[in-house]
Structures are given as C-alpha cells and as structure tokens.
Point group: C2
Chain length 325, copies 2
Amino acid sequence: MKGSRRAESVSDLVASARAGQARAVARLISLVEDESPLLREVTAALAPHTGRAHVIGLTGSPGVGKSTSTSALIRAFREQGRRVGVLAIDPSSPFSGGALLGDRVRMGDHATDEGVFIRSMAARGHLGGLSWSTPQAMRVLDAAGFDVVLVETVGVGQSEVEVAGLADTTVVLLAPGMGDGIQAAKAGILEIGDVYVVNKADRDGAPQVARELRAMLNFAERSEGEWRQPILKTVAQTGDGVSDVVAALDEHRAWLASSGTLAHRRARRARAEIEAIAVASLRRRWTEVGEHDQLDALATAVVDGQSDSYAAADVLLDSLDHHVG
Amino acid sequence: MKGSRRAESVSDLVASARAGQARAVARLISLVEDESPLLREVTAALAPHTGRAHVIGLTGSPGVGKSTSTSALIRAFREQGRRVGVLAIDPSSPFSGGALLGDRVRMGDHATDEGVFIRSMAARGHLGGLSWSTPQAMRVLDAAGFDVVLVETVGVGQSEVEVAGLADTTVVLLAPGMGDGIQAAKAGILEIGDVYVVNKADRDGAPQVARELRAMLNFAERSEGEWRQPILKTVAQTGDGVSDVVAALDEHRAWLASSGTLAHRRARRARAEIEAIAVASLRRRWTEVGEHDQLDALATAVVDGQSDSYAAADVLLDSLDHHVG
C-alpha cells in the first residue's frame, strides 16, 4: 500500500517535472542528491525519458569567468528558445553554496525565466571529485525536457577529467593573466576539451594564450573525420563571441551523432556508472558482514603474513556467493 | 605432477632469494611483473616472510636528483650493514629502461655489491600510476630479507600519491631552481611527505625553498604525539646531509611502530589491494560472460532508456551468483 503510494508520488513528480514545474525538478534532484530510499524508483522512472538533452561540461581554473560564461551561454540558448538546466558543482565545500555563493547570486539574472533551471550541488563525492549523484541529477534535467544540460565545475585535480567523462561535449575555459592557464592545459586538459574558449579576450595576453593552445593542440595528429577542437575567444561579460561558442557546441553535437561517437561516449559513461554502483554495493557488503568488517579482518591477515592479497580477494569473492541473489 | 613441480620450483626460488641469490630475486619479480600463471603461488609463498622491511617511497619532480639521492641513501645504509632493495618506477614508458636509462647506469655503482638489488619497473599500471605489480615486487624484496625497500618514482600526477599509499615512509625531494618545486608542493605533496629533503642545498635558492616549505607545513596544526615532518638539506652528489636523512627515516620508522600508525597504514594498504584485486577479477567476469560482453549490453540498455544504472548494477550483481563459488 505504502509502496504503491510512493510509486504514484514519484511518477507524479516526474510527470510534473516534464510538464515544466521547477518545484518538481528541484524535488527530484533532492531525492537523488540525498540518496533517498526512493533513489532507485526515481532513477527507474526517469530512464525512459532520458537521452535527448545535449549535456555540456564547462570547466576551467578559478578566475577564468566560468559563472559569467555560463550566464552568457544561458542567455544565448534562451534567445534561440532552448530550455537550459544548469548544475553548478561546488568543490570548495561539502555543502552547497559556500564560496561560490556570489556566483550563484549573479546567475539570479535568470531566476524569473521558466526555461532556465539552476542548481548548485556539493562535490562531496567519491574520489574527491564530482558528486556521486551528479549523473542522476543530469538525468533529472534531461528527463524534464531541458534541451541543454550544462554542468559547471571548477577545474581542480580530477574533477575536470570526471566532467569530461559525464558530458557529451566538454568546454575548457581559459583566460589571459592566469599563470596556471597553460600550466593546467599541459597537465591534461588538452585531452578533455572538445571546444576551447579563451575568455576575457579583450585583455592583454589573450592572443598569446590562444596561440600557445593552438600550438599544443596541433601537436596532436588527427586523422580524417576526427573532431578538430576549435579555439574561440569571448568576452563573457559583454556577450562578445558567445554565439560562436553556441555554434561550435551545435557543430560538435552534430559531429558526435554522425560519427557514432555520441553513442560510444554515452555507453562508456553508463558502463562506468553501472560498475561504480555495483562496486559500491559490494564494498558495503564487504565492510558490513554481520557484526565485523570482513575486509578489515582479511587486511590484517595479509599484514600479518597469514594470508596474501590474492587469497584474501578470493575469500571476498567467495563470500558473495552467500549474499547475492 | 606438473603442479607439484611448479610448487617445488616456486618454493625453491623463494628459498634461494632468502639465501641472498640475486638471480632468484630477479626471477620472482619477473614472475609477478609478467602476471605469470604462477603469480598466486608466488604471492602465497612470500606471505609468511613479509612485513619486516622498512618500505620507503622516494618521490620528486624530474631534475631534483632522485637517482643521485637514491644512490647516496644506498651507500649510507650499506655503511651500516643494511641490505637495500630498490624499485625504480619508470613512468615515461610502457617498458622498463627508456628515458631513465642514464640513471640506471649511474646506479651501477652498486652493481657488484650483493647487499644491494636494483630493479627498474615499467609504470604501465592501472590508473596511469604505479604498476599493478609494484606491491608484489615490494613483497619479493621484503621476503628476500632486504632491510630497506626503496621505491623511487617521478612525481607526476597521481603516482606520487600512490607511492605514499604503498610506503611506510614517504620522502619528498625538492631542489632550488625548479620552478615547479613549490608549485608541486602546493598541489598536494604537503599531504604525503613524512620527510622532506631539499637537495642541491649548495645552490642559491635552497634556503628559500626550505623556508617556504616550512611555512606551508607550519600552517597545518598538529596535535601532541603526531609526526612533525622534518625538512633536511642534502647535496646528494657529495653525500652531504645524507646521514641526517637516514636518521630521520629511522626516527619515523620508530614513531610508526610506537604510535600504531605502521599497522594502520599497512592494513589500509592491504585493504585497498585486496579490493582492487577482487574488483579486477569481477570486471573480467562482467566483460567475459560467455561470448558477449555483459556490461556492454547493460550499458546500451541504460543509454537507450530501457534500463537504469541501478537496475543494471543489480543484474551484474545477480549474475555473480551463478559464477562465484
């Protein structure tokens, strides 16, 4: 009885979210973010409605103008009548808000627009990077019918690499005068960007940032039919160049579909997510078998030389036999 | 018949290694490095003899003098009559040797000393960092009776963090004139070093590197009984200051034991390794069920909206029921 009331309520929420109710969208995101007991039900109810949105990841070091760029992109998409859902991942705090509160307020420009939904999410996640629930929150926005789902992350450590794993198209933002712009680029962002944007292009040093970036990208050989990452210049504050970014995003989306890369990327993403959920579930079992921590006992045996790590792994796997099914 | 010959041969190898035969040590490392079918048997045979060595990780950016420092440390340990096993992890190539060949040749100083064993290992490993087989190779050296096992890694990306996870004591090497010395420190090495060494201390800028490092370390509050990381200065080329490093390493080892941290670190390391082995084994099953890739099929169903990631994870876990045991 309770079960059927719950089911009704989740499907009502999904229906309301799909009908454009922001409150229902917010509620669904809270359910996945809080790992509610309804999480599985929500995920199952969303599934048939997902896969339509263009998921865009936007990343860059602090100070390159991510929030201003997000706001400018929202405006440009809205001018074309497209609905935009935004997830702003805040790595600076285990709670939403915090250091980026100023940015969130700035995004308040779009607060009265029903075609825009903005949500801050804590990056309390696994691996120190994106929140565990980010992919589920993306699905909420996708299922709710947003044409574009923008995921904004501060490029620190692994999170920029993770957002590349989650998004269809990854935009890497740079700016002149950031000592670490090109440094960061060298450190690995060259492998993740589909579109590069040099923001604050009206400042000294912007042409050089673009030039160095171009030199580095040209270093990587590309074969016929591969995507060549454009390097665009914007002044997000005034909106200069933003329409070119939108055009590049659309072009990349079209290339993804025609080349078969979209299906490939999404399948890879789903694989990783399914595995992560399965492993997390197993990890819970391994550490909560009866009263004691099974994995702890095995680790102690390995440290003491009474077992070895392969034999201990076998014991873990054998124990699944009695707990699965 | 074959099985018993194999078992005999592995236990012979372990006995020979423990008797000081370098050839047997090298053969055992090759068996674990090549993921030989004998890997499990080797690991099991080593287990009862492990846990005695002091495992020291040595990491730092290219150019700080890691190989020279390793060589100087070997000399200092040898003067005290301690046997030293060295694993030099080469991240620059999927094969051993490569860019660090010059360094390896320099370490040839110790080639005729039976109390020293040096081995280069490829970092072809999982996660782009340390090789999968590094922990097993460490166990070979430990079981073979080396008093000190030194693991030398170039501090690039994750590998410096990984070596911290593997070692009892982690030494972070810095040097003046490396623009990235303190940069790297900021990026995370402050959390991994137990002992900091400013090498090339006879050069301009060395006092400043030590001062900046001290300022950053003092920033972190430590409670009574916690380890306070020393900052030492060396000129590895001449051996100046190296005996102080050895003394600090011994002091840290004593603190690890008396504080209970040693058992804790080693158990955490064993936990992570057991889990990684179990997950790798499951991953192989998930992608090799019968003729088709089960995980691929599930991922496609999620992308198509016919399933969701939680339901797909359940299918994976249920399938274990039929394959485990």
